[in-house]
Subunit: 277 residues, 4 copies
């Protein structure tokens, strides 16, 4: 008997829960956990269930299609460790945190590779026996560099790409094939301090809290759907470097929370927002 994740979103209508739970019941599946939400603005219905039992995923999908509105998106997948490629630049705190959790089996994921535009983090990755791909961006235009990275990604065909402090902006061409699958950590409580050097910006503005934001990456810099945020208090004694140091703990925890949610298929993207069960 396996566990499956079932995710549905569609226009809201009367009786959806009854109809879906009817299909699940008739298939003799046990609902271990389920959640629903109707977004009042978009009038969209979101449903996620973790079910246990024996099922034919195609048959179940067909049965659900028959009773759901025609616009319905239906995802059915075995609950399993996700395949993941990490991308990073020079900072080790987020990457190291993920590698440590991977090693102690706290992560519901299989890390396939790390790709970096620098060679700095090779040593760390090798400690944990993770293949490391150094793709220098020197003397390359953005497109050529991204193509090289994309070729590596294609080899691995990951479920998710985690930008663990990857400090380059990605083009739409890069993002397109992995839409909704690229998660970034930004070192501010977005939408404050979009762009470069958020800690310097925060220091200049004299804020009393700093934070971090994990979000899906889309074409607009730092504008993608937010998954997770957290903050800490600071005060006038903090230089921007002190903020950066204190912020690292927030960044890695926020990213860790976000990828845990993603790896359990708990996130829906609804336009520019997330619904998280």
């Amino acid at each position: 008997m396996s566990q499956y994740i079932l995710k549905i979103d569609c226009q809201d209508a009367k009786g959806l829960i009854y109809k879906i739970s009817n299909v699940i019941y008739k298939n003799d599946l046990n609902i271990e956990k389920n959640s629903e939400f109707v977004d009042e603005e978009s009038k969209k219905f979101f449903f996620r269930a973790r079910v246990a039992g024996n099922l034919d995923m195609n048959d179940l999908k067909d049965e659900l299609k028959a009773i759901l509105p025609p616009d319905a998106n239906i995802y059915i997948g075995v609950r399993r460790a996700k395949n993941v490629v990490l991308m990073a630049t020079k900072e080790s705190h987020c990457l190291g945190d993920i590698l440590l959790k991977h090693q102690s089996r706290e992560l519901n994921a299989n890390i396939q590779a790390v790709i970096s535009n620098h060679d700095t983090l090779r040593g760390l990755c090798e400690k944990f026996d993770i293949p490391y791909f150094f793709v220098s961006a020197e003397n390359l235009d953005r497109e050529t560099h991204e193509e090289k990275v994309l070729r590596i990604l294609e080899e691995f065909n990951p479920d998710f790409i985690i930008l663990a402090k990857y400090m380059r902006i990605l083009t739409g061409t890069f993002i397109k094939p992995y839409e909704g699958k690229i998660i970034n950590i930004h070192h501010s409580f977005l939408p404050a301090f979009i762009g470069a050097n958020p800690y310097k910006q925060a220091h200049k503005r004299g804020v009393k809290i700093i934070g971090a934001t994990a979000h899906f990456v889309n074409n607009d810099l730092d504008e993608g759907p937010i998954i997770s945020q957290s903050v800490i208090d600071i005060n006038h004694e903090y230089s921007w470097r002190d903020m950066q140091k204190a912020g690292r703990n927030v960044e890695k925890v926020v990213l860790s929370n976000a990828i845990d949610l993603a790896f359990e298929d708990r996130i829906f993207i609804n336009n520019n927002k997330t619904i998280i069960f």
Copy 2:
């Protein structure tokens, strides 16, 4: 068309959601929001829905009873402002906060009266035109005093009794007729600093965070099911009076959150814990 709250708890079984949503669907009710939870330990199933439509509450209850396990508790009620009696002693911050919210219609409740063992807060209550009952405990044994209070409560027959810093311990006799309906605010992050003077205890222990806890009252002092908690950071500069002052803001916010949840029938009590939808 009215809004109703439907709450069910019973032993977990296969198909419960299907069966319940079937009854709701057949009755042509619209589910505006629903939540479920299965407690793995007690194997109990909890369900809450806000539905809109026309219904006969007794008929619906009978229909649900027919398809649910025999131990099921079923609550169906019109969504409405709750009737509430507040009890307090001398401190005004929690009481005043509730009275202010009541006046600006932020509270889904009708405050029927304030009962106090002191006369201190009469002026405040009269400002807001709330009947004030001063029941002195002087020269009375606990039982006699409680009887006098109970007689006032009987007049009002409130849905909830809110202990907004009522500084007397209640006996089992008092609590029994209002089980699951009395909410207290305790000025510590329980179970730390049970009993008297938690801020003095916190100061003595040298903690770096203090907090507050809203909980249902049962026979065991400060041991009832916890509804809501929050904390704030402090440091060595705080005297216990500084903690008390800073703590007041936490206390009133925690109590406010807890009663909002209660007034919307969002809380289940499962032995000594709460499930909150």
Copy 3:
């Protein structure tokens, strides 16, 4: 024997603490609490002490002037309740919170009056016996309206003006005579969501935390020196009205913390930032 607050800021130099504490010592004053900070960027030195004893404020100022750099700002004041005028529009949560604290003597301030551009909050203020000035802005240009308000303020000559949800933008002319004395509460964690309707903006952006910011008012909207900030977690279930409701508790606590700091003369303004002891 009285308590005094002594505040000094000047260009940093060697021996400042020694020289200042020497003056204090020679005057036989007891330092109850003191704090210093040197801002590395501006190379400015900030000092605050609470001292007890008998002193002639002018003499002490002269003695300090003699040993400090020529650019030094020296403030010496008796520790006392501040005179305060509140300004508000229609919302009662911040205003009511301050009035409650004033009444229970938790506020180190004497509230002289409330000024509003609407008549909505008159009833609340009269409950607490605070003079209420309704200055309608209808059919008036901004300057004329502000002049009427300024004339009332002049009567009271307050130490601080607290904008407890005063929803009009103030001009430079209004602000100038009260620079560093006007404190506003903004319903977002600035610099996110500057301007109108921050909760609607937050809802649209899909953030997972919302917050509030208390700051001194200067000529640039929502750009003044930040005093205090706080946030709470939200999720996809929150409509912007839910955010507004939840945010009210944050707003009033943040404003309350900020004015407590101001009323104790614990805040320095250093360009667009605050140093808080």
Copy 4:
């Protein structure tokens, strides 16, 4: 020119800051940062300064001794990376976090060794080239085991011993030579859930927040002076294993904050409390 840390505590008296700053000034030292605090209860004065310049530590100590009350404790030390031995049992999250920070030079410390009562974490430590000492406790009484550990510690003579999830209780004999130098992380917001299995205790009690506490170790289990605490919100959906998983992020951040403070000599112990500058 070197940086020095100067720490003084003694009975409070008039003029202490003047006298101390006079000595510092006469020695031509530059105060980069200083802090003072008087504990009202114990009437004790605490002072810490970071000074830069050329000094003879013994001479300075003598000069200070001459002007301070006879009970004064004076510490003068060069600002430098501390020597540290880590102790752990089987869990890797706190240990791994410290090793990562050590490697990326974020830690103001030199990790000399890891000692464990299990062999589980050897691989992790070897990745980071840290000597690993496995001292099995099997078939040994507590005293004999501790003696073996003490012998290793003596070799290294560390400034601090960090218990990064070392799951054995230490005796007074072990603690005595390292009083004020052993820092432990406890997985609850002490004093709640003292002793074994705090997450199971927290689950049973039904709390809505869980936390972690870093504290100095003394003879009373989980009763030592608290350095740092933090919490996170949980809800009824959390099993105790979910709490444990979520709690790991809190534990490692709290421990990390505490050791940063200790390594910068920012902590005073005052009976059972800490004063932190």
